[in-house]
């Protein structure tokens, strides 16, 4: 038997390696100056999905929304053990905020079929919103387990996880279907399999609206499916910029620099004074 697993992944600019030319003068991100990488916590979600597949068997699909070059994160997933990839790509999806993104993704997921477990990274390093996973769960009417830092037990009928919450952890058990958002504490992602890299390095996308697996009679993946708004039957007014109520007012490039240092005595009086000062400056409290 085994489980039907889906992992949603995203290609993001490598904001960990920001240099001087990263922001344009008008305050928008200069994407050309940043490498496009696999969103780190989505890699943790994929690893968790692969571990579940190894434990119980089943099938693991990967879905992403983005421009054509986002196919790279799907190939990376297949190199690590995913069984199929779907690229949701359409100019009409461009400029989507989290609401429009989750709308498009949930429509694609409905088209892909029934899943027992959907995993996504807790958040992407470009927007840091942590909203898309929970929104997908809401729109599909699924249980959701967010901030998963460890999968404690997984069986064919339920999953038990640890959630990292403020001031501690919470252990939660859920039946299927369920959506998990995974943090980087959960695991250390595996490397690509060299054999799969050699087999799938030339994999390309194909406009293939069928939800059936894109494999040949030997079980070898033949292509990555590319879907657009029409394939998933999306209402385009709810997609992309037109479906996005979020408006960016202003982007400010904040450079944090260390100023003066100040020595504080190790007695109660001096520490109380420091706490008072930090509270006054709204740094703590």
């Amino acid at each position: 038997m085994g489980l039907n697993i889906l992992v949603t992944v995203k290609q993001v600019p490598d904001t960990h390696n920001i240099k001087g030319d990263t922001m344009k003068e008008d305050g928008t991100v200069n994407r050309a100056a940043l490498n496009a990488i696999f969103n780190p916590e989505d890699m943790n979600a994929l690893e968790e999905g692969l571990k579940i597949k190894e434990t119980l068997g089943g099938r693991l699909s990967v879905l992403t929304m983005g421009p054509p070059r986002a196919v790279e994160v799907l190939k990376d997933s297949i190199f690590r053990g995913a069984d199929e990839g779907v690229l949701l790509s359409d100019k009409r999806f461009a400029g989507a905020d989290t609401l429009a993104t989750s709308y498009a993704l949930q429509a694609a997921i409905r088209k892909m079929g029934q899943f027992d477990i959907i995993l996504s990274g807790r958040q992407a390093i470009d927007g840091d919103t942590a909203q898309v996973g929970p929104q997908i769960a809401e729109k599909l009417g699924l249980n959701q387990l967010t901030f998963v830092s460890e999968v404690v037990e997984v069986t064919n009928s339920f999953i038990t996880v640890k959630r990292s919450i403020e001031n501690g952890i919470e252990i939660v058990k859920a039946g299927y279907p369920v959506l998990l958002t995974v943090t980087d504490e959960a695991n250390e992602p595996r490397p690509a399999s060299v054999k799969k890299v050699m087999a799938y390095k030339n994999l390309t996308t194909k406009k293939d609206p069928s939800p059936a697996p894109a494999v040949n009679d030997k079980g070898v993946i033949t292509h990555i499916k590319e879907w657009d708004a029409d394939t998933i039957g999306a209402d385009v007014s709810l997609c992309g910029l037109s479906g996005s109520p979020t408006k960016v007012k202003e982007i400010e490039s904040v450079v944090l620099t260390a100023g003066d240092t100040k020595m504080v005595g190790a007695d109660k009086e001096a520490i109380d004074a420091l706490i008072h000062e930090l509270t006054e400056e709204y740094i703590i409290g």
């Binding site: 595996r190 490397p191 399999s193 060299v194 390095k201």
Partner: protein, 573 residues
């Protein structure tokens, strides 16, 4: 995010410039797996692309996963508890990652689940892994075990064992050494007896067995009752059961993550590999030659790691108001270290290409005897080359690696002697490389034959005939000068016909050969790169002085040391 492949400009220089077309064409059997396996390459270009992607993955795993764990692996070491070996945590995690990346069937054909890579790529991969953690190489680099099964066992054995190695289900060890059979493997005593049902049983003790806790061991044993020497020895495949006990593991100076086991076999069932009596003379020799290439790669990797530590320290450390790299005493050391490593690397790839051509032609003739006439001459020639280059390489790289680690620690000064810095670990880890799989002294003996009988001259002739060195004539003339000294030394030793004198000067002669061959290889590299011209020039100048000194000693006919050494070492004033 350090990647130990893509951050190494010398490895990149070689992979981007070396011609592996002959090697890959043979290894891929003219690309006959094409279409049968989705991962099989279509042609040379595709195969080279696979090689580069593979190295990139190994570089990533080594830099980002293995290297950060290496200090803890060294501190924890492999342990022995209740008769079983426990790997250090980082070692166990690294094995898991290597398996997930499907790197444990490196040279094995695809039909058994391997990735069918040539030895040249394996050597590159071992160097990269060893730079991260030398002790992990003793597990990753033991794939010569499955390679030996792939070469010499019958089809049924291949089917039963090879897929398990490739999937990572089992690992291997080679159980050769015994308490009284170290360098002299002909003295092996462990007994193999065949019962009336044709089942073999092993009885005896093996010592210094790297990863002896592995599921599958290749065990060398005396199978011919009353037949002394190498001809009485066969090789057996042993799968662990309760009839073999691990008695202890060694406490060592370095490579602490690698368990070195003492094994006791008590009537343990095993299967014969290949033919009786061929255990030492054919299979183990082949196995050990593969292992020697792997140890050379390990030494280059450790040296690379030590060099980088020294380079970084010399840039950071300020004394007398400047970075210590500005002092000639320090930059001379750094320059010589870097050039020695590059010399080791170019000799390593030359050797591995020779081994690849030889072994694949041999395998192809085994698979299709009608090819025998076609490949006969080449197999003979490349066997001669492999017989010379393998010991020459191991000798040069492991001695060089020791010197590099010594100097790297020296550049650190006092802090290098503390465990705060990585360099002391490299200094300890490198020390075994010129001892195990045949000491440097034995490598000299191995290489000497090929030097004296003219194999080295044959190869140098080929370099001269097949390349146009005119663009670097000034440098190449100096390399030819080294060759003239080498030929003079060889002629003198042969003319003298005194075996004691030949043995006495063996190392000096082999050193001249190493300097000469590496100078030629640097000249070949210099045809492709301006930087390598500088490398060749700086290597050859001191090589000329070294060679001159060795040649003078050889030509002197001075026998004092041979005559007088007993008076010195046995007596005081």
């Amino acid at each position: 995010m350090p990647n130990f492949y893509s951050d190494n400009s010398d490895i990149l220089f070689h992979i981007n410039n070396m011609d592996l077309s002959a090697v890959l064409d043979l290894k891929e059997r003219h690309y006959s797996d094409k279409g049968q396996y989705p991962e099989a390459p279509q042609d040379y270009e595709d195969a080279m692309d696979n090689c580069k992607r593979l190295l990139d993955i190994i570089g990533d795993i080594s830099g980002n996963f293995v290297a950060p764990r290496a200090p803890a692996v060294d501190a924890e070491g492999a342990r022995f508890k209740d008769g079983e070996v426990i790997y250090a945590k980082g070692t166990a995690e690294a094995i898991d990652i290597l398996n997930k990346a499907e790197l444990m069937g490196f040279t094995i054909p695809r039909r058994y689940g391997g990735i069918n890579m040539p030895k040249t790529l394996y050597a590159m991969a071992i160097e990269i892994v060893s730079r991260a953690d030398a002790s992990l190489m003793n597990i990753f680099g033991l794939q010569d075990i499955s390679d030996t099964i792939s070469k010499f066992s019958d089809e049924d054995q291949k089917q039963r064992y090879l897929p398990r190695f490739c999937s990572g289900e089992v690992m291997g060890s080679m159980a050769l050494t015994e308490p009284d059979a170290g360098s002299d493997l002909q003295a092996v005593m462990l007994k193999a007896t065949e019962d009336k049902d044709g089942v073999w049983h092993l009885n005896g003790v093996k010592r210094f067995i790297t990863n002896g806790c592995a599921k599958i061991s290749l065990v060398m044993a005396r199978s011919e009752n009353g037949m002394a020497g190498g001809r009485g020895i066969s090789l057996f495949i042993y799968e662990r059961d309760s009839d073999m006990k691990i008695r202890r593991i060694e406490h060592k100076l370095g490579i602490k993550g690698s368990p070195t086991c003492e094994l006791q076999f008590k009537n343990a069932k095993a299967e014969l590999l290949g033919k009786r009596k061929m255990g030492l003379v054919r299979y183990t020799m082949s196995l050990m030659n593969g292992a020697r290439l792997a140890i050379a790669a390990q030494a280059v990797g450790i040296a690379e790691a030590a060099y980088r530590e020294a380079y970084s320290y010399a840039n950071d450390r300020i004394q007398f108001k400047k970075e210590i790299r500005e002092f000639s005493a320090v930059y001379e050391m750094l320059t010589n270290m870097k050039i020695a490593i590059e010399g080791g690397r170019t000799l390593m790839y030359e050797t591995s290409r020779i081994v690849d051509i030889k072994e694949n032609m041999e395998e192809m003739v085994d698979e299709d005897p009608s090819l025998k006439d076609k490949y006969k001459e080449d197999i003979q020639k490349y066997s001669r080359y492999a017989g010379l280059f393998t010991p020459l390489l191991k000798y040069f790289t492991t001695e060089m690696g020791n010197k590099v680690c010594y100097d790297a620690l020296q550049i650190h000064g006092g802090v290098g002697f503390t465990t705060e810095f990585n360099v002391e670990r490299h200094y300890r880890d490198i020390r075994i490389t010129n001892i195990y799989e045949g000491t440097s002294q034995l490598q000299v003996v191995g290489a000497l034959g090929g030097v004296i009988t003219g194999t080295v001259s044959e190869r140098l002739d080929e370099y001269e005939a097949n390349n146009n060195f005119a663009p670097i004539a000034d440098i190449f003339d100096k390399a030819k000068g080294l060759r003239a000294s080498l030929e003079k030394g060889i002629a003198h030793i042969k003319e003298k016909g005194d075996s004691t004198y030949q043995e006495y000067h063996a190392e000096r002669l082999v050193k001249i050969a190493a300097d000469t061959v590496i100078s030629y290889l640097f000249c070949l590299d210099a045809l492709k790169s301006d930087r390598k011209k500088k490398v060749a020039a700086i290597f050859i100048a001191p090589a000329q002085r070294r060679v001159q000194e060795s040649l003078e000693a050889i030509l002197s006919d001075n026998m004092d040391l041979i005559r007088l050494h007993k008076d010195i070492i046995d007596q005081g004033e």
